[in-house]
Amino acid sequence: MTAITQIRRNDQPIYLDYQATTPMDPRVLEAMMPYFTYKFGNPGSRSHSYGWEAEEGVEKARGQVAKLIGADEKEVIFTSGATESNNLAIKGVAEFYKDRRNHIVTTVTEHKCVLDTCRHLEQQGFDVTYLPVKKDGLVDLDELRAAVTDKTVLVSIMAVNNEIGVIQPLAEIGKICREKGAFFHTDAAQAAGKIPLDVEAMNIDLMSISGHKIYGPKGIGALYVRRKPRVRLVAMIVGGGQERGFRSGTLPTPLCVGLGEAAEICMKEMDGEAVRLTRLRDRMLKGLNAKLAEIYVNGDLERRIPGNLNISFAHVEGESLMMGIKNLSVSSGSACTSASLEPSYVLRALGVEEEMAHTSLRIGLGRFTTEHEVDTAVEELVHHVTKLREMSPLWEMSQEGIDIKSIEWAAH
């Protein structure tokens, strides 16, 4: 296998948004190619070699995904992505067990697809508890323990947050769920392939995985569904009964193969990659801190995946900063980048002031990020933050020692 050092063209900006999506690893593409062309069979065809060949590809991939999370391959089903996996896990469990238990526990910092699924279930008559998080972004285990009752069917808590990269205490959460007899679902879209996950050690009953967050293809994901003790689901998509009846539809063989290959590469390279990315992240933060005052990391820095930084650059609005750093592709928690004009609900949940949420950038590092890219990014950020602060009335006031909170601002 060849080592890939750069995947973007030289005329493209530096990609620092690895929590949004990742480029596909060329090794993944290579594994997928035959399944687009001559190995095109339907994995459901049992009567000829085309079908057998495709089935072999799919089953190998299922095993590769299972191995990444310490599961049995029979417990992995393929979906179209983490959004579908989250929908299926939460709605499927809620629907199946509704006569016995009708309460779900989740947190306020979950991905929208979990929150919206829970809202949907509330409309159907289920009770949902949305737990707050602490200042560091982590769930309070005592609050969790208090929230789970004998009516709780499911606890759904994400493994790693997509905005601030913090890692929830999965093993502790799993233990509480097991004691209370509630199923534990975790949205591991941002965690799989980045940190070690073990469904046995962590007592995880359902886990959602996304292909495109782990250098695999878009349009594919997986849901782990525990067999012992068995978790039952009502399917959302019915038809030919594929995927143990949980998810009908002909499997997209090349995508399944790509997800499997991506999972295997992540597993092999995880330890080395974590060390490399932590070093790059520390280099970036050190570089920024050396030249800029009043920058704040949102979320816990220790209990965090290596490839994420979320920083508030005080007194500089996020969208204007992104307009300046044209050569860097990042994302912002500022309102101005969202359709809703509301700043990030995740940062607000941590207790980050609205004015600070407006100044935040999410910087995602990943497999193809180089030291040179990090140094360039630091240089550009320092230049533009300094320039924008020179034109910021808030920066001027703070330099003059005026407390911005003491001013009566007219909300508009």
Binding site: E317, C336, A339, L394, H412
Partner: protein
Amino acid sequence: MAYSEKLLDHYENPRNIGSLDKNAEDVGTGLVGAPACGDVMKLQIKVGPDGLIEDAKFKTFGCGSAIASSSLVTEWVKGKTIDEAETIKNTDIAKHLALPPVKIHCSVLAEDAIKAAIADYRAKASKKDEPKEAAE
């Protein structure tokens, strides 16, 4: 989001950044918006003895459209009387910069900033006159 060339030009090369002495009698200062909303504009005008605005400066915390809107109005108000400056409409600003609909509030804020600066100047001017009247 695709921005117009004029907007990008004002963002890249903002005109009249800076501050005037807010305590000076011939300077009017407008500070509008709120940090929590992601937009704060400070706009200052200096009015000459002939009643014309001879200088204007701004500082803005906000998105690119907010920066461009405030930069543009500092250009527009210079050389105008305060009565003329007061007639600048947010729609003119939005049209000139081709602001997308979600950014119209930036032009509204820029109009508010001019009005606030003028109001501050007028308040100072009338105060200056008061002691004289009292002496008469």
